[in-house]
Structures are given as C-alpha cells and as structure tokens.
C-alpha cells in the first residue's frame, strides 16, 4: 500500500516557476484555469508562529497545491494548480474560520490565470502591489483566455430544418468560444468529410433516421474512434420510446431531443455544453 505523507514544504519563487509554467501550458488542453493566492500578514510574528502558520496552511491545501514564500514582503503564496478563483475564495473563507493566530490582520489577493502568455513575475508584481492595502483583492488582468474554436455538425435530411438549427447555433455566444457550423444532409457525407478529422472539440447534432447511414450507426462509429472523447453527440428523434432512448445513451449519446422540441431548450443545452467545457 502506498501512503502519501504530506509535509509542509515551503518553496521560494524561483522554485515554483516550473510548476507555474506547467500549469500554464495545460490551461488549454485541460480547460482548467489555475490561481495564485497571496497572503500577507500585517504584523511581525516570531519564527515559531510562522512555522505553525506554514504547517496550518500545508494542512488546509490539496496535494496538488504549492505553498511558497515571498521573502521581502513577509508574504506567503499559494499556487492552486487545479482551482479557479471561486475555489480560491472558498479556501480563503476556510482559512479565515480556522486560522491559528486569531487576531492577526491578513491581506489577500486572488489572481486567476486563464491567459497562456502571462509570466510569473507579472503576476507577482501585480499581486504584491495589491496586498499593500488591507482587505481582499482580486486581479482580473490574466483572465482573458484565447478564443477556442468548436466545430458543430448538423446532420439532418430536411434542408429547412437544418437551416433553422444552424441559425439558432450561430446566435449562441459563449465567452471564449467560437462555434463553427457545418451542415450535412446524410450520414455517409458526414462520416466521409474532412471536417471530422481534427483535434477540435466537436458537437454533433443529428437525426436518428438519416439517408445512407442512420444516426445510431454514426454514433457507434464516432464512439469507436480513438479521439471519441472530443465529441458531444445529441440525437434528435420522433420516437418517444424509453427503450430507444436508453439504447442511444448506452451507445454514447450525450443528449436526446424528442421532436417537436423547444428551440430555447435546445439552445440552452448547447450553450451549457459549451460552458461546461471550461471549469
């Protein structure tokens, strides 16, 4: 049995740079922002109290989080590699409730990072600047993320219905995401197209009954592809049979729209799928 023992490791700024670069590099692929939290004590404390504080912080954070010190500022930093600003804020509240030195005023600054081109010194400079004044600070300067292109395929025989769905999808606006729509009138045309062969996240909206290759057949083909995880497949059907729906979910459908469906519901579901991509 492997046991992980958590020790109160305290890094310096230079030591955390590789972790910062690693977290930055995985922002896009894992669609996970990370956060730096800077805490500053406004009173001088002795060495033993400082050790107790470090031990306390080490206990409160996750194994994936890294604790570091910023010497000249009497400040501590946390590199939260798998947390966004809201989780960092929740952590701050927890720390506030349980802090070992009750009456010590602490200034904190939350910096969420979604931007891949930012440098560690830029982040720390702004953070250190903010904690000079008491209170809780939030820096938004590095939250601007690169626009991600998501492919949307509509596979439907009826051309007017295809256009209605395309217009609806083109009207969806999600921050940081651009939807590229392509229309197909039969299953074979969709499976043979080059549109399918790319690393983009791909939302497929298709009817269960289609000419040449039917929807369930396409779903099976998609789910057998090595990169099948990038596909979000929504089926449209006239069939209200629960068995058929269970079968579709078993084969890997992410959602089913029973016709006639409300276009607002459709829009909301596609929007939600896009928003869920980023944590």
């Amino acid at each position: 049995m492997i046991t992980v023992v958590k020790t109160a490791s305290l890094f310096n700024v230079e030591e955390i740079r590789p972790f910062f670069e690693l977290s930055k590099a995985s922002i896009r692929r894992s669609r996970q922002p990370f956060t730096i939290l800077i805490l500053k004590l406004h009173v001088e404390i002795d060495a033993s109290s400082r050790t107790a504080l470090v031990q306390f912080l080490a206990k409160q954070i996750r194994l994936t989080d890294i604790l570091f010190h910023i010497d000249e500022q009497n400040a501590l930093g946390l590199l939260l590699t798998e947390s966004g600003a809201s989780e960092a804020s929740a952590l701050l509240n927890r720390l506030e409730e349980r802090k070992p030195i009750p009456d010590t005023p602490v200034t904190s600054c939350i910096i969420e990072i979604r931007n891949e081109s930012v440098e560690l010194h830029q982040v720390l400079k702004l953070g250190i600047g903010a904690i000079q004044e008491e209170g809780l600070h939030r820096i938004h300067d590095f939250e601007e993320q690169k626009t991600e292109e998501i492919k949307v395929s509509i596979v439907e025989e009826n051309s007017m219905f295809r256009r209605v769905l395309a217009t609806t999808i083109e009207s969806i606006h999600v921050k940081g995401i651009e939807l590229k729509v392509q229309l197909f009138e039969d299953g074979q045309a969709f499976l043979e197209s080059d549109w399918l062969k790319s690393a983009h996240t791909h939302i497929v909206i298709m009817n269960d009954v289609l000419p040449r290759r039917n929807g369930i057949d396409i779903l099976n083909t998609i789910r057998q592809m090595p990169n099948q995880q990038k596909f979000f497949v929504f089926m449209m059907t006239n069939n209200k049979s629960e068995e058929e729906m269970i079968l579709s979910f078993d084969r890997g459908a992410d959602g089913i729209f029973i016709k006639p469906f409300n276009i607002r519901l459709f829009e909301a579901q596609i929007k939600r799928t896009c928003k869920r991509l980023w944590r």
Binding site: N158, M160, V164, T167, P260, F261, N262, I263
Partner: protein
C-alpha cells in the same frame, strides 16, 4: 379493298392526332407543374427567414408573406411542417393556429367540401397540424354523414387533440371501426381528465379499446390510475389481467395481493407477470410464491422467478435453505445459475 385501306389510313391518322394532342396536353401539364413548383420554391425562399423569425423568435407577423395563391399555400405548408413536427417555441402552436384560422380558413373549407377524397384528407391533415377546428364546427366535419375510414381516423385524431368532448362522442359511436393501434395513438393525446372519463366507461368499451386504454395509462404514469390498474387483476378477460399487470410493472408498482392473485392463475403469462411484479415488493411477503413459481412447468416462469429472487438483497439465506431442501433439480440449477450471474453481493454460492 380500297375502302378498307382508306379506313385503316384514317384510323392511323386519328391515332397519330390523338397521340400528338395527348403529348401536347402532357407537355402543357408538365410546364404548368414546373411553373407551379418554381413559384412555390421562390415563395419558400422569399419567406423562410421571416416565418422562422415569427414562429421561433417572437418576430412580427410577416404580413407580406401570408400565402394567398395555391402555390404559396403549399409552400407555406411545407415551411410550417418543421414548426409542427420538429421545433417549437413558447407560442408557435398559437401562431400556427392564428394563421390557419384567419388567412387559410376559406382554402381549407373549400378542400373539405370537395367531392374528391384526396383534398378532403389533405384539409383534415392540415387542420390536425394547425388546430383550426373551428372549420369543422361550421358543418364541415363531425356531423357529415359520408365519411371514409381515413377521414374518420383523422377526425378522431383531431378531436383527441383539440376537443375531447366531441372525441368521446365520436369515438364511442365509431369504436368498432378503429384498430387497437389507432386507439392507442389517439388516447396518447388525451388529457388526464379525458382518460379518467374513459376509465369510467371501461366495462362498456370493446376489448381492443380496453387494451389500448390500459397500455396508454401505463405510459402516462399517473398515480391516480394505480387503483384502477390494480383492480384489473380481477377482470374476466385474461388479456386485460395481463396488460394490467404489465402496466403496473412498467410503472414500477408492486403489490402483494396482485402477485398472489396472478400466481394462482392457470396461464403461464399471468404467473410470469406475478414473478416480475414481485421484484417491487417486500421479499419476505412474496418469497413463498416466488419459490412456488420457481418450480412451475413453464421455464419462462421459473427463469423469471429465479431472476426476481436474485434481485432481492435479503434472499441469500432463503436461497441456501431452498437449495438444501428442494428435490427439483431444474429449479435448483436455474436458481444457482442466475444467482451467480445476477445475484446480489451476499450470495457466495
């Protein structure tokens, strides 16, 4: 002889003329049809986005797109098809109804009064899509004496969606000409109130309507129907008892009394349903009948009983006991096999 040759020549000439005339007529028809289709496609192209905006996005009524000529009406019907059968919005059906009532009423009235069946059926189908049943109430529908089966079915389907009182009257009048499948399709549109009213008339309904009603209730999954479905176990019709049990099973309702009653039956289908329904009840209360069904003559009943026993978490002790004491090696065999394959974690074999 010469006269006969002349006669033959005349006949050939007349035939050639007839063929030429027929050809010209067909060409003219083809030209008219392609012109009609072109105008229809142009109308669709011109109005598609304004109708989409009106039906789905709360856009203004596109007055200039309202269909007036025959090809425009056909184009509108094709465009509106997707707003009836594929996508809707909050008020799409009201808007479809409004257009049909206000602007297309005369057109459908003419079709309804046509001597040919085709136009009449077409009008009824569109009335079913748009819900403009006011036309039918103006002496064009329910009270008309000459109705084909297709018209009757369409009328019933329309009323099942938009006027349940007329549906009930018409349904009871023509019940014998409708199949079970057609009944089920229509019942599916009915509200809880209309279904409850049909339940009150259940003994008087013909058997195919009764079966369709039971199947519909099982799909609707309303708690109000459970006492009625449980009561069906005492019906004289074996099919009603089986379908009633199937409906309870679909709804996930278990009842020991129903299980006991069905397990006592002579037919294997009812015993099979008893074994199926027993999975929703307390094991200790139904274990005796389950072990009894495990030794039934019909293997489907035995297999189902074993499957139900395997699904009960607290069956392990009783299974051990049964295996030790039973002399029915077939029952023991199937029970062992299913317990190993599907049984709860407590079973060690």
């Amino acid at each position: 002889m010469i006269n006969t040759i002349w006669l033959m020549l005349w006949l050939i000439a007349i035939n050639i003329c007839c063929f030429i005339l027929l050809g010209l007529h067909l060409l003219r028809k083809h030209y008219q049809e392609s012109k009609f289709n072109n105008r229809k496609e142009l109308y669709k192209e011109r109005t598609e986005s304004s109708w989409r905006d009106y039906f789905l996005n709360d856009g203004p009524l596109p007055v200039s797109s309202i269909p007036l000529r025959k090809e425009e009406i056909e184009g509108y019907e094709e465009l509106s098809y997707i707003y009836v059968y594929s996508v809707t919005s909050e008020s799409t059906s009201q808007k479809l109804h409004l257009i049909a009532k206000k602007y297309l009423g005369n057109h459908y009235e003419k079709l309804l009064n046509s001597k040919r069946k085709g136009p009449r059926l077409k009008a009824l189908a569109r009335i079913e899509d748009y819900g403009n049943i006011e036309i039918l109430k103006e002496g064009n529908g329910a009270d008309k004496k000459t109705k084909t089966k297709e018209e009757l079915l369409l009328l019933l389907s329309i009323y099942s969606k938009y006027d349940e009182t007329t549906f009930r009257e018409l349904f009871l009048k023509y019940e014998s000409s409708i199949t079970e499948y057609e009944c089920r399709k229509m019942f599916n549109h009915l509200s809880k109130h209309a279904l409850t009213s049909l339940i009150s008339q259940f003994p008087g309904l013909e058997s195919h309507s009764r079966y369709a009603l039971i199947d519909t209730l099982s799909i609707k999954r309303e708690f109000e129907y459970i006492p009625f479905l449980k009561g069906l176990v005492n019906d004289n019709d074996r099919e009603v008892r089986i379908r009633g049990a199937k409906a309870l099973y679909t709804m996930g309702i278990g009842d020991e009394e129903v299980c006991f009653k069905l397990a006592d039956s002579q037919s294997w289908e009812e015993k099979f349903m008893a074994a199926k329904l027993a999975q929703y009840t307390n094991f200790n209360r139904v274990k005796d009948i389950l072990f009894q069904l495990l030794e039934d003559r019909e293997w489907k009943v035995r297999e189902q009983a074993a499957r139900t026993i395997a699904r009960h978490r607290d069956a392990g002790f009783w299974v051990e006991k049964y295996i030790e004491s039973s002399s029915d090696q077939y029952a023991v065999g199937i029970l062992r096999e299913i317990m190993e394959r599907e049984g709860s974690g407590s079973w060690t074999g």
